[in-house]
Amino acid sequence: MSFLSWFALGVALLAVVPYLAHRLRRRKSDDKPFAFARLVPATEPQARRRSELTDKSLFGLRALSVLLLALLGATPFVRCSRLSLDRGGASVALVLVVDDSMSMRAKDGGESSRFTRAIAGARQLISSTREGDAVAVVLAGSPPRVALASSTDIGAARSTLDTLTPSDRATDIDGALAMARSLVASLPQADKRIVLLSDLADGTDTPLPDDPALWVPMPELPKEVGDCAVLSADRSPKEVRVEIACSPKATAEGRDIELRGGERVLAKVKAPGGPRVSVVLPIDPRSTEDLDVLMTGSDAIAEDDRAAVVLEGSATSIGVVGDTVEEVTATGGAPVVEQALAALRTDLDVRPLADLPDKVADLRPYAGLVFDDPPGFTPEARHVIEDYLARGGVVLLALGPRASRAPLGAAFTPLLSTVPTWETAASVRDKSVKAGEGPLGDSAQSLVGLDPKGRAELADDDARGFSRWLSWSDGPLFLGQREIGKGEAMVITLPFALDQSDLPLRPGFLAILDSFVARARARLSPRRSDAGASIVVADSAVIKGPSGSISQTREAGVSRAVLPDIGRYVINVQDRTEVRVVAPVPRELTLRPRAAPQGGHAKVGAAPGAKLDISWVIALGLLVLFAAEIVMRVFVRTDPATS
């Protein structure tokens, strides 16, 4: 603070001048001699009190006026603790990355949660923007979303912040930052800034990228706290198995795990200590009511201490149907597609299937089926697959040379009406996959420059029936998707065998499988899903969750709904009701913040204590005080009791 600031603030000492003048005036009054003072009665105390009260009010007003005058003089030099942009004259492109994950529900700073404080910080930053600045809002809960595309309408930004609510999603900071960078990349403002309002707890240990445009302005948010959560509560006929996970700084030991039907406690057990424990609660097999598991006590996040009980027996596997003999010979281990699915570390088992079961009931444990270059389907298999798809199954069909050699009587219905052909001409080898299409996004870049020995080609009618996710550079379909019944099918025109192409070696291969698994989970996954995950629903579905109705969005011809909060969701489709349970994501429970880049804000040019001109506020306050003094004087003069 400069000398001028101190000097201006020193004027505040003049606030005592009215008091001193008052004292001096009173002293003169005290010493007034009067010969016959003994004959003078003392006045009533009430009159004296009225006089003193009036004097004090006026004194208070004047002292406050002097203080405000001093502050007004020092205002251009005063630094405020509010968040603001330390800026030059140029316009700023600002992206507010607000973390709406479950960890932001933690109340480690008093009554307000981390999310509330982050929103307050975002409002302060928006208040420091000027005309010409562009503001965007990105949510860092998984999956990252754009709440507001870049806009120069500051009012819209404020309105967007008003609509934001915390969720129980996992955190995806890297994805949100990538989304933020893409938002500001094309904006004309030279000064681009990304402000991350997060506790940085996304379950990873790597520090944040040292991006000169990145600023993490609220260092009080990233703080490791202790929390325990009920991850799952699965019901078998006679018991409920509860799984509990705790962050490194917390333990559930000693807390009661209660099984409740409504508010009635049906069973109770003490939780053991440990980072991840499971307990078993007995239950009456005849019970049909909705059950919940509640962990008593308190920790950083209260919302994850309760979980709805799910019936066991849902689909838990991905089936891989292929020629294991050839694949094993080629890879020296499990088929490459099985290894790739295992590498995805999903909670679904990967089970190889030598033959497709004859009954669709036998496919109930399978959320998805992968067919790697099958030589067509037998009539029984076609029937089973048709039923499987009709019930919501998901099939990934990889076409290769064996598919083109399907024997008589074998076909690919209901996926394809015609057996594909296998092209091995030399010209095919020059072709490659055209990136930039479909929902795979940047992951498709790794498929550019494939070196196939051939490719399957679909009949034109079959190709037109699929949504085109990826294409060969000369036009034919490489990867497509279509809905059949309640399910859907994905077709890729290369087999997964390494001797046919280097597709399994590309990262894009994992992206394709990941997309397949995600769709399988959404379609036929267990009734429990992660918070923030999207599920595929019928267009006419009505979904009600813990926080009200859930709206649907339609993407690529499929209706999807995102279930953001922990709890029980009831999905009504015409005359059928389905219950889904959303559970917290285990990695969200680590609550360990990532390291923030050092000195990032200095490069960005913003600081928590940036200069803020509040002269107009102080001047307005002065006017109010002057008006109040005038009103008070008029009131005192016209008050007959005082006069």
Partner: protein, 303 residues
């Protein structure tokens, strides 16, 4: 506390005292006559030539036989012709309100000087005594002529309002005791005081003065502010004698005036019941009128 109240005599618009006293006395002379109270008495006062019309009872036959001429014997009366002025110089007399020409003690000094001038001009002796006044009080013994007036004026010019009758209850007796012992029948005693905070025994002293044919006139010196209490806003009034401090405002005016009237009435009744007279002297009034009223009251008592 007393020091705070003590102040040098506030002469206000009355200085110089001698000049003002003479001016006041000139206003009093109109209608007055020289005092020549020689005549029938017990003490021989000398002879003078007989003039037709003299009472033949006072014809001195022996002197006629010795000096072969008619001489009339003269006798001086026993009546004391002296005027004794007592000025209250206690602290309360130092008060001066916002509308007064001067302080009460300065006003009393002017009246006293004017009376002295009138007395000496009439050939009557004059004496001066103070109630209080501390070291500044220099009483003047009874004397006649211009020198006596000069001494009285000089003493009045140096007086200061000092002294608290509450702390010194014998103050009044000490001042009046000498007068009671020395003054004889017919002498006139004028006491100029505000009668403020005087002890009750002061009444006895005044009663003693007014006895044995002495004429006592009490001039009650009051400031206009004391008579109508002009304070409207809140004020802290401090007694000039004692430590009393009163927080008050204009709401108590009526009650104060009632208390003052009762106080004055009590003193007036006590004084007049002993054959004396009480004259109210406002410090914003006409001093000549005040002196004339004192003389008239004295004449009324003597008659």
């Amino acid at each position: 506390m007393t020091k705070e109240i003590h102040r040098t005599l506030d002469w206000g618009q009355l200085a110089p005292l001698r000049l003002r006293a003479k001016m006041v006395a000139e206003g009093v002379y109109a209608g007055a006559h020289r005092s020549a109270r020689k005549g029938a008495g017990v003490e021989f006062g000398g002879h003078r030539e007989y003039t037709p019309g003299d009472d033949l009872r006072w014809l001195d036959r022996r002197s006629m036989m010795l000096h072969d001429r008619l001489l009339i014997r003269q006798f001086e009366t026993e009546t004391d012709r002296a005027l004794r002025v007592v000025v209250d110089a206690t602290a309360s007399m130092g008060y001066r309100g916002t509308r007064a020409k001067t302080s009460k003690i300065a006003w009393a000094a002017l009246i006293a000087a004017a009376l002295a001038k009138v007395a000496t001009s009439s050939g009557d002796p004059i004496g001066l005594t103070f109630i209080g006044g501390g070291k500044t009080a220099r009483p003047v013994p009874v004397g006649s002529g211009r020198e006596a007036f000069e001494r009285v004026a000089s003493s009045l010019e140096q007086i200061d309002a000092v002294g608290d009758p509450k702390l010194d209850p014998d103050l009044v007796e000490r001042a009046l005791g000498g007068i009671v012992r020395a003054a004889r029948r017919g002498s006139i005693v004028v006491v100029l005081s505000d009668l403020c905070d005087l002890p009750s025994r002061a009444l006895d002293a005044l009663a003693a003065v007014s006895s044995r044919g002495r004429v006592l006139v009490v001039g009650e010196v009051l400031d206009p502010d004391e008579l109508d209490f002009p304070f409207d806003e809140a004020v802290r009034l401090k007694a000039m004698e004692g430590e009393l401090v009163v927080e008050t405002d204009g709401q108590v005016r009526e009650r104060y005036l009632a208390a003052l009237a009762e106080h004055r009435d009590k003193w007036k009744r006590a004084i007049t019941s002993r054959g004396a007279e009480v004259v109210t002297l406002r410090t914003d009034g006409d001093p000549s009128h005040s002196v004339r009223e004192i003389i008239d009251r004295a004449s009324r008592v003597r008659a």
